[in-house]
């Protein structure tokens, strides 16, 4: 499965709203839309680290790196390339 699909699936499984209300595109800011909570942030970071074998450094822990599907995928690809 490609990275984007995995991330979408993870977000979907961890949403804090009913699934049918949660329509988001790859560029939507999922934090601003209120779909996720503080616990989600930590789960997401752990998931990315385990699933893609990368370490999220403290400097990278900015919402801007994780605010949408596109940004998360971009971040992961960057890390893997680096």
């Amino acid at each position: 499965m490609e990275i984007k699909e995995k991330i979408r699936q993870f977000i979907r499984a961890n949403l804090v709203v009913f699934e049918d209300e949660a329509d988001f595109t790859d560029s939507d800011n999922i934090f601003e839309m209120g779909f996720v909570n503080s616990l989600f942030a930590m789960k997401l970071v752990s998931y990315i680290e385990q699933e893609f074998g990368i370490t999220v450094d403290n400097e990278d822990l900015e919402i801007s790196n994780f605010s949408s599907v596109d940004r998360i995928v971009g971040y992961i690809e960057n890390k893997k390339a680096g």
């Binding site: 616990l39 942030a41 930590m42 403290n58 822990l61």
Partner: protein
């Protein structure tokens, strides 16, 4: 090796020749060791949990514990044929506490070795010493609070919640809504201080500074005009999780400075972590100030760091000792999750 002096939160017992005399699979007539019930009860009343790591038949051993009238004292018993280090690891994960806060008691040196090898931070003792447990310093917390007295019952409520959660079909939101959670935040009163001290001592994973304060220090903050000491309690349809969060804020001329922020790990899965933070941010903004916050990395508090960063705190400085100063311009404040009824008293 230097002995740790960290408080023990859980004692894990072997069964054969430790909890009872004899071997259950060889004789059905095993008897509890003399004085053992008193030891279990005394520690339990101090808020110290008990569990079991034993190689036995699960049903058979549990029946025996019930017959002997002590089954209710043991949380997450591991009675199976696994290595004891595996059982101990399972108990630690289930309780979500540090290995350095666990004591393992077994009559066999081999088992103690095996456990200690896999978990170097655990404390192992010989079964012959069981009567001395209540006297040990690490099993004598400085205060026994309402929260400590009720601790085992609160963990049993957690187990019920967990069962329901595992069986729940549907998005996590729906489950959280079904719990009817109430989160109450208020200024700490004098009667809250023992629990407040206990929280600073017991909380590792969700502690922003790793600092601990004692009763007198906390009381000084409580009565000072320059500080705000907040404590919070979470309840749901099962009952109270107890007083589970604490924050200390210094009110300065041009800013509020968050000196201490911690949240019990027992509520980690409830998505309530941001509530106390959001409340402080809202109040600070109303007061027309910006918010500073102290942070120090410890081995275990990464989750807290992530929470701060995702709450839009920016690092403004960092010293060599690893102390971070965060600043928040309060331009983005997360609303309270709507599945929690928040009350500010």
């Amino acid at each position: 090796m230097a002995e740790s002096n960290k408080e023990i939160k859980c004692v894990i017992w072997d069964l054969d020749h430790t909890v009872w005399d004899g071997i259950l699979l060889e004789s059905d007539e095993v008897k509890l060791k003399a004085g053992l019930v008193e030891v279990l009860k005394r520690l339990d009343s101090r808020g110290i949990l008990h569990s079991i790591a034993s190689r036995n038949e699960y049903e058979f051993a549990l029946e025996k514990l019930k017959e002997l009238g002590v089954a209710e004292y043991f949380l997450y018993p591991e009675i199976n044929w696994n290595a004891k280090s595996v059982s101990v690891g399972n108990i630690q994960r289930n309780l979500n506490i540090g290995m350095d806060a666990i004591m393992f008691i077994d009559d066999q040196p081999f088992e103690r070795e095996e456990v200690k090898n896999a978990h170097p931070d655990i404390t192992c003792i010989d079964a012959t010493e069981y009567l001395e447990l209540p006297e040990l310093k690490r099993l004598n917390p400085r205060f026994i609070t309402d929260d400590s007295r009720r601790r085992r019952l609160m963990y049993m409520d957690d187990i019920k919640r967990k069962v329901e959660e595992d069986e729940f079909q549907g998005p996590p939101e729906t489950f959280l809504s079904s719990l009817n959670m109430k989160f109450v935040i208020h200024d700490a009163k004098e009667e809250d201080l023992q629990r407040a001290e206990e929280l600073t001592v017991r909380t590792n994973q969700l502690n922003a500074t790793g600092l601990t304060y004692d009763y007198d220090e906390l009381n000084a903050f409580r009565i000072s005009d320059q500080y705000k000491l907040l404590i919070c309690e979470l309840t749901d349809k099962y009952g109270s999780y107890g007083k589970i969060g604490l924050a200390l804020i210094e009110l300065k001329e041009d800013c509020w400075h968050l000196r201490l922020m911690l949240m019990s790990c027992r509520v980690m899965n409830r998505g309530v972590g941001s509530v106390l933070m959001s409340h402080i941010m809202q109040e600070c903004k109303k007061d027309g100030k910006i918010l500073l916050a102290d942070f120090k990395h410890t081995k275990r508090n990464r989750m807290m760091y992530v929470s701060y960063k995702f709450a839009n705190f920016k690092e403004v400085s960092k010293d060599e000792g690893g102390h971070i100063l965060f600043e928040n311009d309060l331009s983005m404040i997360q609303p309270f999750p709507h599945y929690i009824d928040v009350k500010i008293l």
